[in-house]
C-alpha cells in the first residue's frame, strides 16, 4: 500500500489553514446587487475587516497593522479580501464614503481605517468597544 500523501503535510500548517478559512469569509452571499451584498456581509459579522489579503497573508502594511491589533486584543473578527472582489472593492468606497483600506466594521457600522483603529487601540477604546 502506498503511503498516505497527506502525511507529508505538517499538522501545524494544516491547522493554520483551517484557522484561516474560519477567519476569512468568501464572497459567500448570493446577492447580485453589490451594495446589498455589502450590507449583508457587515450585518452578519459583528466585527469584519475589509482588507488587502487576509489575516495570515496581509498584502498591505496598513491592513497588517489593523489585523495585528485585533489579534492582540483577541477579538473575534472576520476578514474579507477586497483584492479578490474588484466590484465590491469599488462599491464599498461609495457605501462608506471612505476611499481606502482597511475598513473595520463593528455591528454593521464603520469604525474607521487603520489610523482610527490605532488611536482607539492606544487609548483603550478599541478594547472597550470590542468587549
Amino acid at each position: 500500500m502506498s503511503e498516505n500523501p497527506f502525511k507529508i503535510i505538517n499538522p501545524k500548517v494544516d491547522e493554520s489553514h483551517a484557522k484561516q478559512a474560519s477567519t476569512e469569509i468568501q464572497s459567500g452571499f448570493d446577492e447580485p446587487d453589490t451594495m446589498k451584498r455589502i450590507e449583508k456581509i457587515i450585518n452578519s459579522n459583528s466585527v469584519i475587516v475589509f482588507m488587502k489579503g487576509n489575516a495570515f497573508f496581509p498584502q498591505c502594511g496598513f491592513s497588517a497593522n489593523t489585523v495585528g491589533m485585533l489579534t492582540q486584543l483577541k477579538a473575534d473578527f472576520k476578514t474579507y479580501d477586497i483584492l479578490q472582489d474588484p466590484e465590491l472593492r469599488q462599491a464599498i468606497k461609495e457605501y462608506s464614503n471612505w476611499p481606502t483600506f482597511p475598513q473595520v466594521y463593528l455591528k454593521g457600522k464603520l469604525i474607521g481605517g487603520n489610523d482610527i483603529v490605532t488611536e482607539m487601540y492606544q487609548s483603550g477604546d478599541l478594547a472597550k468597544v470590542l468587549s
Binding site: 496598513f62 464614503n97 471612505w98 476611499p99 481606502t100 464603520l110 474607521g112 481605517g113 489610523d115
Partner: protein, 77 residues
C-alpha cells in the same frame, strides 16, 4: 505640481483659515502622505466623522495618484 502641494491646496479650500499640514509619510513612497488638520469644524464630531470630512475632499485624488494617507485631526481651541 507636487502631490503634497496639490493635496495641501485641496485641503486649504475645504478648511479655509484652518491649519493644514501635508508631508510625505516617513519611510514610504511619494503616494503615501501624512496629513494634520486642525479645525473648529471637528468640534463635537466623532473621530470617524472628522476623518471622513478629510477623506471626502481627497476622494478624487485616491482614484489617481494618491495611495494612502495617515490622518490626524485636531479640534482647534
Amino acid at each position: 505640481m507636487k502631490i503634497t502641494d496639490k493635496i495641501h491646496e485641496i485641503l486649504k479650500i475645504g478648511f479655509p483659515g484652518d491649519q493644514v499640514q501635508v508631508g510625505p509619510m516617513r519611510g514610504a513612497s511619494d503616494d503615501h502622505l501624512e496629513i494634520i488638520v486642525t479645525s473648529k469644524k471637528f468640534e463635537g464630531l466623532m473621530l470617524l466623522e472628522q476623518h471622513q470630512m478629510v477623506m471626502d475632499l481627497l476622494k478624487e485624488e485616491f482614484k489617481d495618484a494618491l495611495h494612502a494617507v495617515k490622518i490626524k485631526t485636531k479640534v482647534s481651541a
